[in-house]
C-alpha cells in the first residue's frame, strides 16, 4: 500500500482499489456477420468473492461508452480520480452487495478499454485493425461473455444486469442461454431501436466519418484521430441522454426561476457565433473529453451494435416467442423522463414477457434526469434494486446451504 493510498479515505461502501485482469482466448469466436475472431482478449474487473458452489455471481453489462471499470478506484496517487461508472450500485451495502455477490464486469469486444477492438494490433498485419475489425453484435458480445463465464467456472449467473445497451445484452442472455441465468435485470432499454434512435446514431457516425482526420478509419497510421468528429458525435449523443428538465435545472441557476436553462457563460450576449450560453461550452467540454478517451472506430461499432440489435429476428418479429425458452425471472425498469428509450419501450418488453407467461416485475421510476437516470443513485431506483437483489442473495445463500 502506497503512502498516497493512506492519505485518501475511500467511502466505507466502496469496493476500494481494484486491478483489472486481462483474459486471453484462443478458441475462435464465430460472429453473427459470418466472420470469425481467431484470438481475443477480454478486460475484466471483479468485486467480491465467488462462493463455493459458484451461485452468487452477477454479470454487469455495460452500455455504449462504458467499460469493465464499473466500481472502485484504480490509482491511489490520484486524489481526484472518479470511481467506476456504476459505483453507486456496487459495493458493500449497495444494491449489488459485494458482501453477498461476486460481481463481474468486462469491456466488450470492439471496445477500447483493453479488450480486443479496432485499436488493437491485428496479428496478421502488425498494425491496428481499424476498419478491418469485424462488426460485432450484441449476440457476439454475449457469446464472448459466456466464454468468460466458462473460464471463471460460472455455470449460472445469479443475475445478469444492464442498462440501455447493457439491458439488450441481458435480453440476449435470457434468449440464447436460458439455463445460465436465474434473474434478468433490464433497465432503461428497448426491444430494438426505432427509426429515431437509428437516426441519431447515423448523425454520430457521419460526424466521425466526415472528419478529415478519420482517414477511412486508418487514422492510427497517421498519428492522429478524428477529434472533431467524435466530439460532435458525443455532443449529439449526450443531448439524447439528458432531458429538457435536467438541462433547464443544470443551466438555469442564475435566475430566480429556472430561466429555461439559458444561463450565459460571460453574463452577456456576444452577438457573434462564439459560445454565449453555458450549455454550449458544457456540451463541447463533454464531447472533447470523451473524444480524448474513446476510440472513434469503437464508437462506430457500438452504434452499429445498437442499430442491429433485434432479438426477434429469429422469431417472426415476435418478442414473446423470443423469450419462450427463458426460465429466469425478469425485473424491467424505466425512467419517466427518458426519451431515448422511453417507458413505453420498456413496457413493450414487459408485455412480451407477460404474453410469454414469464415471471416479470416492472417499475417506472419518476426521475428528471432522462436516459442517464439509470446511472444515478435515485432513491426509489436504488431501493428497488436493493429489495430485488436481496431476494436473489437469499436464494444463492440458500443454494449454498
Amino acid at each position: 500500500m502506497s503512502t498516497a493510498a493512506a492519505t485518501r479515505a475511500l467511502p466505507a461502501d466502496s469496493v476500494g482499489y481494484v486491478v483489472p485482469q486481462k483474459f486471453h482466448f484462443d478458441e475462435p469466436l464465430p460472429l453473427r456477420s459470418g466472420r470469425t475472431l481467431e484470438h481475443y482478449d477480454l478486460m475484466v474487473e471483479t468485486y467480491g468473492t465467488l462462493n463455493a458452489d459458484r451461485s452468487n455471481a452477477l454479470l454487469i453489462c455495460h452500455a455504449l461508452s462504458g467499460d469493465h471499470h464499473a466500481a472502485g478506484y484504480h490509482d491511489p496517487s490520484n486524489p481526484k480520480e472518479k470511481p467506476g461508472w456504476w459505483d453507486c450500485c456496487i459495493g458493500p451495502g449497495k444494491p449489488f452487495d459485494t458482501r453477498h455477490f461476486f460481481v463481474v464486469c468486462l469491456n466488450n469486444l470492439g471496445g477500447c478499454a483493453g479488450s480486443t477492438g479496432p485499436s488493437s494490433l491485428n496479428p496478421d498485419t502488425g498494425k491496428p485493425f481499424g476498419p478491418d475489425f469485424p462488426i460485432i453484435t450484441v449476440r457476439d458480445w454475449v457469446s464472448a461473455q459466456a466464454r468468460l463465464a466458462d473460464r471463471l467456472g460460472i455455470d449460472c449467473w445469479a443475475a445478469v444486469i444492464g442498462g440501455s445497451l447493457g439491458g439488450m445484452q441481458v435480453m440476449r442472455w435470457a434468449i440464447s442461454y436460458p439455463q445460465r441465468l436465474r434473474h434478468a435485470l433490464i433497465i432503461a432499454a428497448a426491444p430494438k431501436l426505432s427509426a429515431q434512435n437509428i437516426a441519431f446514431n447515423e448523425v454520430a457516425r457521419q460526424s466521425i466519418m466526415s472528419d478529415p482526420d478519420f482517414h477511412q478509419g486508418r487514422y492510427y497510421d497517421f498519428g492522429t484521430y478524428p477529434k472533431r468528429g467524435v466530439t460532435l458525435a458525443r455532443m449529439v449523443g449526450h443531448i439524447t441522454y439528458l432531458s429538457d428538465t435536467s438541462l433547464r435545472e443544470k443551466f438555469g441557476k442564475a435566475g430566480r426561476d429556472s430561466n429555461f436553462g439559458r444561463d450565459l457563460r460571460d453574463g452577456r450576449l456576444s452577438f457573434g457565433f462564439d459560445v454565449d450560453f453555458q450549455v454550449q461550452s458544457y456540451l463541447q467540454y463533454k464531447g472533447e473529453t470523451f473524444s480524448s478517451r474513446f476510440d472513434a472506430n469503437s464508437y462506430l461499432l457500438m452504434t452499429k451494435a445498437l442499430d442491429y440489435f433485434d432479438p426477434t429476428v429469429d422469431y417472426d418479429g415476435d418478442l414473446s416467442k423470443a423469450f419462450a425458452a427463458s426460465t429466469c425471472k425478469f425485473l424491467v425498469m424505466s425512467f419517466t423522463s427518458d426519451w431515448r428509450f422511453a417507458p413505453e419501450r420498456s413496457r413493450e418488453i414487459v408485455d412480451a414477457l407477460l404474453k410469454a407467461r414469464k415471471d416479470v416485475s416492472y417499475l417506472e421510476i419518476e426521475a428528471a434526469e432522462g436516459h442517464d437516470s439509470f446511472l444515478l443513485p435515485i432513491p426509489r431506483y436504488m431501493q428497488a434494486l436493493q429489495a430485488y437483489l436481496g431476494r436473489v442473495a437469499a436464494e444463492s445463500s440458500g443454494a449454498a446451504a
Binding site: 425471472k329 414487459v350 428497488a384 431476494r391
Partner: protein, 198 residues
C-alpha cells in the same frame, strides 16, 4: 401470516398451481401467501411505490400499471383467476374492468363494500348525509370511491352482461356470515364477495 379476512375467504376458490392476476395487489401479501400455500404463478398490478417495494421484498411479481387505463396488454384467457379486492368502487368504469377481468381470466373474484347496508341507508335517511363507516371512512369530497354499488346493483350487472355467478358470499366486518345476511343480503351484508365467470 396476517392476511385480510376477505382474502382468507377467497383463497379457497383458487386452484393450486394456477395463474393468478391480482389487480391492486397492495403489499403482495395475498400473492405471497398463495405462492407459498398453493404454488400459484403470480402477477400483481399496483401503482403505489411503497407497495411495489414491499412486493419486491416479498418476491412477488409486480407490474407498475394503472388498471384504470385497461388491461389491453394481457392476453385473453392468460390467467386462471383474476382478483379485484375492495377496489371496484374506486375505478372510473367498473363495468369495463369487470369485462376486462372476464376476458383475461377464466374466472374472477371481486369484493366490494355493500352501499345498501342498513346502517348506510339509515344515516342517509335520518341525517341526510353521505354515510361514513369503518368500510367507508372518507368524507364525500376526498373519497377514492367513485362508484358505490349495492349487491342488487352488481347482481343486475351480472344478469345484463350474461355473467355467470359461481359463488357469492356476503359477510360482516369480521367476515362472518350470519342468517340475516343470508336471508336479506342487500340489507344486512357489509361486504360482498363474488366469484364469477362467463
Amino acid at each position: 401470516m396476517n392476511l385480510r379476512a376477505d382474502l382468507l375467504l377467497i383463497q379457497d376458490w383458487i386452484a393450486p398451481g394456477s395463474r393468478v392476476l391480482d389487480l391492486g395487489c397492495g403489499d403482495g401479501a395475498f400473492l405471497a401467501h398463495l405462492k407459498a400455500t398453493k404454488g400459484v404463478q403470480d402477477c400483481g398490478l399496483e401503482i403505489d411505490a411503497d407497495n411495489i417495494f414491499k412486493c419486491l421484498q416479498a418476491g412477488v411479481n409486480v407490474v407498475e400499471q394503472d388498471m384504470d387505463k385497461g388491461l389491453r396488454n394481457f392476453d385473453t384467457g392468460s390467467f386462471d383467476t383474476v382478483v379485484l379486492a375492495h377496489t371496484l368502487q374506486a375505478l372510473h368504469r367498473p363495468d369495463e374492468i369487470v369485462e376486462e377481468m372476464l376476458r383475461v381470466g377464466r374466472n374472477c373474484i371481486l369484493t366490494f363494500p355493500n352501499f345498501a347496508y342498513w346502517r348506510h341507508r339509515l344515516s342517509l335517511l335520518t341525517e341526510g348525509r353521505m354515510p361514513k363507516s369503518p368500510q367507508l371512512p372518507h368524507e364525500w369530497y376526498d373519497t377514492p370511491n367513485l362508484h358505490h354499488c349495492t349487491i342488487s346493483d352488481f347482481d343486475r350487472l351480472c344478469r345484463s352482461r350474461r355473467i355467470r355467478l359461481l359463488q357469492r358470499t356476503v359477510v360482516d366486518d369480521d367476515h362472518r356470515s350470519t342468517w340475516p345476511m343470508r336471508l336479506w343480503p342487500n340489507l344486512f351484508g357489509i361486504n360482498a364477495i363474488y366469484h364469477i365467470t362467463r
